[in-house]
């Protein structure tokens, strides 16, 4: 391309206005949709102030949310870090909804707005729409309506039953949020809008048929004891989704309390895909913005100065400190995702013999975006790392694996970046991204229906790592309160079935009602 035919840059300097944002979007869009062939939800771009960004941050990034003190705690933390200058605000926030909502901060420079549009409005948006985990679990169309419903419902409950009573249920539900997801798509994802309507109907029906007389009907004799297997089958046990179990079978909960558990559970489920695809999601957005910004610069839509500004923030985003640097806090998902994706591009365009051995199907395919789109659609972090972390990257990042055995006084270097280590390191790193492995496997196993209704849970302990005792005690207290009777959690070694530890907890009197 000769300079004579180059278009004038979209902007010089850092100021922006609405028409510029429009022009930027219209320049970026064809690159993303026609050249990269991304498939996105329609975009909605919202300009917000830094304060509003802080607000949005504190409700898990959602534009509307029910009220709860823990979001206030979030806000105070974020605000403090921001004020002390310890942490900048994210430049963007994007919501997996249809249309896809992108927040742009007014404080951003024109370059940053371009970057954010490329990153969020196209990168994240494409990922949300195409990745199988999101497709399976989230209802982008219904989420905002559902949150609206949740907010209203919880506010109504506060009016009816008092803020404190609602807060207690929410606190307890939040403590069990991570145990409130279905990990396997056994139950079909719901249409969240219809869900909200259904609940309104249920409530109306309950109001209609409410008859106080029923309260006075004498309760029948205690049910005869049922064989264990039959009982477990009837209760749908074992059940890993504790919130679901409580909602369906908790004997002492009011219907509004069940509905709150349901709300917390559905929201946890909505965010579950994000937890499983953090590195990929950020990698996808970062790869997309990098590619788009480079194209913009090549075609002279943005100036050298703007490109330098972009490179600087890009570099900050993908910076990965080494383990001994003092800044190390685990792998940076941006860095990991973008690193592997750029490496895939290299393998497609310019493979070495080693790459051909390892990645026969994609090496030299010359079409990295097609390959990546397939990956973005069909993998989550764990499978992504276990398939695409290449020896080249393992060497480049100088990865090594440490083993920490309780019985030994020293750590052992189990594998390093050499021929013998590649596969082991890759497998081990993939395991770190396997949520099902990182989070304790806790299931409801039985209920003592004939006796005192004790709820029995089991933690299948792997690698001898038991639960954090003080937190477990607090969560079990919440669980017992919701259940209404005693709760017993037994920590059992997954292989030997030997019981390692055992917690019991009684509900606090007067907690319910």
């Amino acid at each position: 391309m000769t300079v004579a035919f180059a278009p004038a840059p979209l902007f010089t300097g850092s100021d922006w206005d609405f028409s510029l944002i429009n022009r930027i979007y219209e320049t970026v869009e064809p690159i993303a949709l026609q050249e990269m062939k991304l498939n996105i939800y329609p975009n909605q771009i919202e300009i917000i102030s830094a304060e509003q960004m802080l607000d949005a941050y504190s409700s898990i990034g959602m534009p509307l949310f029910y009220k709860h003190w823990s979001f206030g705690k979030q806000f105070v933390t974020n605000e403090m870090l921001y004020r002390k200058g310890l942490r900048g605000l994210a430049y963007e926030l994007v919501i997996n909804s249809d249309p896809c909502i992108n927040y742009l901060m007014q404080e951003n420079s024109a370059t940053m707005q371009t970057l954010v549009i490329a990153h969020a409005a196209f990168g994240h948006n494409h990922f949300f729409k195409n990745n199988y985990v999101f497709k399976q679990w989230t209802d982008a169309e219904g989420i905002l309506d559902y949150l609206e419903f949740a907010k209203r419902y919880i506010a109504q409950c506060e009016e009816r039953y008092g803020q404190l009573a609602v807060e207690r249920v929410l606190d307890a539900a939040h403590a069990l949020m991570n145990q409130g997801v279905h990990r396997y798509p056994r139950i079909r994802p719901r249409d969240m809008k219809a869900e909200a309507e259904r609940e309104a109907e249920r409530q109306a029906y309950r109001d209609r048929i409410y008859d106080d007389l029923w309260r006075t009907v004498p309760v029948g004799a205690k049910a005869a004891s049922v064989p264990r297997d039959e009982r477990r089958a009837a209760l749908g046990l074992p059940q890993e989704n504790i919130l679901y179990f409580l909602e369906k079978t908790g004997p002492r909960l009011d219907s509004w309390q069940r509905e709150i558990l349901r709300i917390v559970r559905l929201i946890a489920q909505y965010f579950y895909p994000q937890r499983q695809t953090k590195a990929m999601n950020e990698g996808c957005a970062t790869y997309t913005h990098y590619r788009i910004m480079t194209i913009l610069h090549d075609r002279r839509w943005i100036t050298d100065g703007a490109f330098m500004e972009f490179i600087q923030s890009h570099t900050n985003v993908v910076y990965q400190p080494t383990f001994d640097s003092g800044h190390f806090g685990g792998f940076n998902p941006y860095s990991l995702g973008f690193g592997i994706m750029s490496d895939i591009e290299r393998i497609c365009m310019d493979p070495t013999p080693e790459d051909r051995d390892w990645f026969g199907d994609i090496a030299g395919s010359r079409d990295p975006v097609e390959v990546l789109k397939d990956i973005w659609a069909n993998y989550r972090d764990e499978s992504f790392v276990s398939q695409f972390l290449s020896p080249h990257l393992i060497r480049q990042w100088r990865l090594f694996q440490l083993l920490d055995r309780e019985s030994e006084s020293e750590l052992r270097v189990e594998a390093i970046h050499d021929e013998r280590g590649y596969r082991r390191i890759r497998r081990a790193l993939a395991r770190e991204y396997d949520i099902a492995r990182q989070e304790p496997d806790i299931q409801v196993v039985d209920v003592d229906l004939a006796g005192d209704r004790t709820l029995m849970l089991e933690h299948a302990v792997t690698d001898g790592v038991v639960l954090d005792a003080s937190d477990a005690a607090m969560v079990l207290q919440s669980l017992a309160n919701l259940w209404g009777y005693e709760v017993a959690l037994s920590e059992v070694d997954a292989e030997s079935r030997k019981e390692l530890k055992n917690h019991r907890c009684q509900p606090q009197p007067g907690w319910i009602g």
Binding site: F18, I21, N22, I45, E46, I47, I48, S49, Q52, D55, S59, H68, W69, F71, G72, K73, V76, T77, M80, P99, A121, E167, D171, A175, Q179, Q320, T322, F323, G329, W397, R398, F400, Q401, L402, D404, S409, E410, L411, R412, V413, E414, H417, D418, A428, R431, E432, Q438, E439, P440, I442, D463, G464, V466, L467, D468, A469, S470, D471, M474, V475
Partner: protein, 436 residues
Amino acid sequence: MHIVDRRLNPGGKSLVNRQRFLRRARAYVSQAVRDSLKDRSIKDLAKEGEITIRRDAIHEPTLHRAGKGGNRERVLPGNREFLEGDRIKRPDGGGGAGSQPGEGEDQDDFRFALSREEFLDLFLDDLELPDMAKKKLVSGKIEGVRRAGYSTLGNPSNLSVPRTMQKAMSRRIALRRPSGRDLSRIEEAIAEIEARTTPLADDAVTLERLREERAHIIRRRNLIAYIDPVDLRFRRFEPVPRPVAQAVMFCLMDVSGSMTAHMKDLAKRFFALLHLFLSRCYEQVDVVFIHHTDRAAEVDEDTFFYSTVTGGTLVSSALDKLIEVVKERYSPSDWNIYVAQASDGDTLASDNARVVSLMQDQILPFCQYFAYLEVGREEFASIEAATSTTGLWDAYAPVSDSHRNFAMRKVSHRREIYPVFRELFQRRGVGERTHA
């Protein structure tokens, strides 16, 4: 693609959540606020401030694997020296390779910036001035506006639409403005006649009459406006003077040789609390600092606390000064007068009779509240302080028994200041609560 400008949307969506968090953390926050009494001067105390509470004060527990124990493996970047099979010493503390990934959470304590209001609310939670009857309400200061009916003139933003429409309607009815329905009825009749293919005999006449009538209606409708400027009504507001209550606080301190720095510090804390408290109840609080040895003088805050004057002790001199200043500047009919006196109680026995008579005959009658704080040495055990008495204490004791607006307490450690203050100013009538 839509662009929406949300910047003008109200911010502060988290405000409710923040307040709920504050409420939840109330016990911790209150403690922190009370601790912040250290190192603030009397007048600074009421400013907004930052307080810190421990992060684990409000912990949200989850079920997660313990940070230690068991067998773990971890992949790390940046190996420069290790070979497979190398052994490394376990790093100290939970960090490094021993902890779970994702546990690098920020463990900073919370720091709140409390507004002045929030700060005072927490600080003075539960306190109330005794005998809050304000003797004099000074008027004259314009404070606010209140609604004052409707007027025919005003600012467009104050237009009262319902009232205007009401006026317009009554005018339309009074002047018999034909309604739209009248018009359309005539027009329908005309149209009906016009539409007839075979006209009836008197159609031409009727038609003419109807047309005339229509013209008449249209004319009247044009003449009599739907809404006329005379209908306009505006909401009217008028400024209202609000009473301003004022108070003066006298700080009396003994600075004789026997008063140690520690005692002055105790006194300062007490005065600070009192000032804070008064500035919350009154819009205007004057502070008068009087220190005395065997002579009394009115001084500024710095001198009050840090001057090195020394000498004998004559409590009556301070009381004389107090009476003098009140007569000069703070007429008891205009001001609510509060006095706080701090002393180690070491006084000339010959002075006591005069002190008692000044108190009973002159000061207590014009005072809202007189608090006497006897400060003791830090090293004095509180038992000793409780059993032994001083000259001034003995002199004051009968006065205290006979006057509700006089209270006296002993303090020898700064941790006792706040409880004593609360005790002195606790809400009366709700039973004499004694807990701090």
